[in-house]
Amino acid sequence: MKEAAVIVIGSGPAGLAAADALSRRGIAPIVVIERDDGPGGLPRYCGHLGFGWEYTRRLDSGRQFARRLLARLDPARVTLFTRTSALSIVRMPSLRVEVVGPEIGLTGIGAKAIILATGAREQSRAARLLPGQRPASGVFTTGMLQQYETRGLAVPGQRAVILGTEHVSFSVLLTARRLGLGVVAMVEPGSRIASFPAAGLAAQWLARVPIFTDSTVEDIEGFDSVEAVVLRTPSGVRRIACDGLIVTGGFVPDAQLATEAGLAMDERSGGPVIDQDMHTDHPGVFAAGNLLRPIESSGIAALEGARAGAAVAAYLAGGRPDAVGPGRAIALDDAFRYLVPQHWSWGAPPLVDAPALRPSLRVRADERQARVVLRVDGRALWTSSPRALLRERRVRVNLSALSSVEPVDVRVELERV
């Protein structure tokens, strides 16, 4: 049995930023547990630009951003174990993480606090109930294909179809091209491109990739490898010959450890319930990054990690409310998919020198013109200006006004105008 001040589980942007924030506040020893064979989380596999902007104000690739976060860590205070799995979180008699790794062996590590930063993953082909044959090769998720590229593994085939039009769907278009896979079509079940319209225009006009909206995959052909994808489109059934299908986006929090630890979970976000201090309902267990919901950018994940680090430091210093408790939930209109944080702990002084809270709020379906109202005991404490709200984009809500009140009832409402 080993001892640490804080254990951080996951070394993606949230985990590394959390470790850095803790160590800058003089906390040691900090142990970071990473199950992959290198640190960095998913950005580690992303060669394209656009990572960490909110955190570093730099235009990094995923790899660069991961390296930058890693380089900030103080090796005197932070120990990183890669290839090491956190197996379970034990709370009694005191906080402990059971781990196994080639270096550390099978053991427990005790800690005063734990930060969960286990990230998110894309849903598999099966989870999306995609029909068809199950060829031995040729069906990928973005994450898998990016790892193929980073690990220098050749991908057989020349022509791929991409399912999905999220940001990640357009980045995998570039990955596929670097791997020698021409993209012959993109397929979107919704009625519009989920990413920025500019991405769609670039794909269609620069890369000459047709995008089929309102379309679903009806069949996948091929026995040993993919031979064709059959689409149901508004203009009928369409067979597209190809040798690869890349299933993209559809992220879900990788919340197994949190669920098994018995943390209060939010069905809407898919992650643990937290308060404004990133504190879960278990005293001393905090959570940050895309474990909290699917998904924010890597820069926001890092900001959340840094905020969790600051909150843990304040928690260890004492004088903070314990954790998410009863009667502190923020009620949410059905028009919203999720809000994180789900709770507000009254009476907690704002964190000093920590990144501002950036609530994650999403609507269920596109709203043409609507405003968000933070209603406290029947009174609108904050109201946004009316605007179009898209399903995939963060919707702004200012919860910080809550720190000055101690209400009975708090809700976030949507008003269509």
Partner: protein
């Protein structure tokens, strides 16, 4: 081993062929097991429900009944020694109407009269005590407590490994393209070379009729029936810990909901007659049928995350019974038409084959000493190498988990790459270790597993 001079060639390394090969390895006979695909268990023996049936619902008095009952008995006796997990979770065949209750009551009566004394008729209280999440309105059920769940692939793998460790040769990627007689032997042509054997045992399963045709026999055609399945995540096992079946109709035994030995819950199979035996497609209509059934039987199941979809083929023929056809004047034995009960029946079938062959064809003696074989248990509850601190300390590769959803270590992957019947593909690795079989389906580990496979020095 050169191609010449086997006493017996077993064609087809599905669960039946592997069991037959293992049975031959008990005798002083030179045997070879040849498989068309690159790995064993690539066809009907994967893609099923992996239940260990008692046989109480097979036709009374049939050969199938006798061999399934014997197979069940032998599996319980010999499976544990091979490392194979068995969980006797029992099966409930549920009636929701009085008409169905009458059918179920009659089945229970018939089963008990046929010697299945542990099958009983139970009422709503018993049913809901066992499966509280079952849809409302169940009035009666038959309860068969010794129906079980097993690991289908590992069963065939253990049989094949046991056969190989006890002297049987194994050759994959060797479909039989022609079979001809020469000087009292069969010469089987395959892309990996000829195989000469005195006796051929055709366990060709889904392709048994094409093996027959290569030798000029045309007694039957395989009429595959496709079965589609949905696999739910492990959280679904809190809803159901026993096999759930609908009341059978005259034409079908219907769709099951069954816990899997790996900790998941299966919903399936559909039953569709298919022309193309390679058409293992999951279809929108099939999924809709399964979901509609699931909603009627166990509504909460539909909200559980799905981890996999698959379709398997039952190697049925144009007649409903097993086709075990000895043609000993020509040294050919056909073991076909093993439709749905092959996994449970395999050890009974293998014993039956040897009863036919010894001493009729070979007056061979049994071996006195055997090399014991055991495969790692992939049961969700079985201890894994990474859970053993001493083993991890001695061999750190067991401490490095590569597949996080199913928790498979690099050491376990290394071991199956070095096995006497090694994994040579991702799918072969998946079945032997469970890598990439969990909820992320390879999102996290797929590329690393591929790299380990390509290097072969994991």
């Amino acid at each position: 081993m050169t191609a010449s001079g086997y006493d017996v060639a077993i064609v087809g390394a599905g669960v039946v062929g592997c069991a037959v090969a293992r049975e031959f390895s008990r005798y002083h006979l030179k045997a070879i097991l040849i498989e068309a695909n690159s790995d064993l268990c690539e066809e009907s023996s994967k893609g099923n429900t992996a239940t260990l049936a008692t046989g109480n619902d097979t036709p009374a008095g049939s050969l199938e009944r006798r061999l399934v009952v014997r197979g069940h008995q032998r599996y319980l006796a010999e499976g544990p020694g091979l490392g194979l997990p068995i969980r006797l979770v029992g099966a409930l065949t549920v009636a929701f109407t009085e008409d169905e209750a009458a059918i179920v009551a009659e089945e229970v009566r018939a089963a008990r009269a046929e010697g299945f004394g542990d099958v009983e008729l139970v009422g709503a209280q018993h049913i809901y005590a066992r499966v509280p999440a079952l849809a409302a309105g169940a009035v009666a059920a038959s309860w068969a407590p010794t129906e079980g769940i097993v690991d289908g692939f590992s069963t065939a793998f253990a049989f094949a490994l046991d056969a190989v460790e006890n002297g049987v040769d194994y050759r994959a990627s060797s479909p039989v393209t022609a079979a001809r007689r020469r000087e009292g032997s069969w010469i089987l042509s395959t892309p990996t070379g000829e195989v000469q054997a005195r006796l051929v045992v055709n366990c060709g399963g889904l392709r048994a009729d094409s093996v027959e045709a290569a030798a000029g026999y045309r007694d039957f055609v395989v009429k595959p029936r496709r079965g589609q399945y949905i696999v739910y995540d492990k959280s679904a096992q809190r809803l159901v810990g026993t096999i759930l079946r609908p009341t059978p109709t005259p034409t079908t035994r219907g769709i099951y909901i069954a816990p899997s030995i790996f900790g998941n819950v299966l919903l399936g199979p559909t039953a569709e007659e298919i022309e193309d035996r390679n058409d293992r497609r999951v279809t929108p209509a099939g999924l809709a049928e399964l979901q509609a059934f699931g909603r009627r039987m166990l509504p909460a199941l539909l909200a559980e995350p799905v981890v996999a979809l698959y379709a398997g083929m039952r190697p049925a023929t144009d007649r409903p019974e097993y086709r075990i056809i000895p043609r000993f004047a020509e040294d050919w034995l056909t073991v076909a038409g093993i439709r749905s009960t092959g996994l449970t029946g395999s050890l009974g079938i293998a014993e039956h084959v040897l009863d036919l062959v010894v001493p009729e064809v070979f007056k061979a003696a049994r071996k006195h000493a055997l090399n014991p074989v055991s495969v790692p248990s992939l049961d969700a509850g079985a201890p894994r190498p990474w859970q053993d601190a001493a083993r991890v300390a001695a061999d750190p590769a067991y401490g490095e988990i590569v597949c996080h959803c199913e928790r498979v270590s690099r050491g376990e992957i290394r071991d199956v790459l070095a096995s006497p019947i090694p994994a040579r593909s991702i799918k072969a690795l998946r079945r032997r270790t469970r890598v990439m079989m969990g909820r992320c389906q390879g999102f996290f580990c797929g590329a690393r597993v591929e790299a380990l496979l390509r290097d072969r020095d994991a």
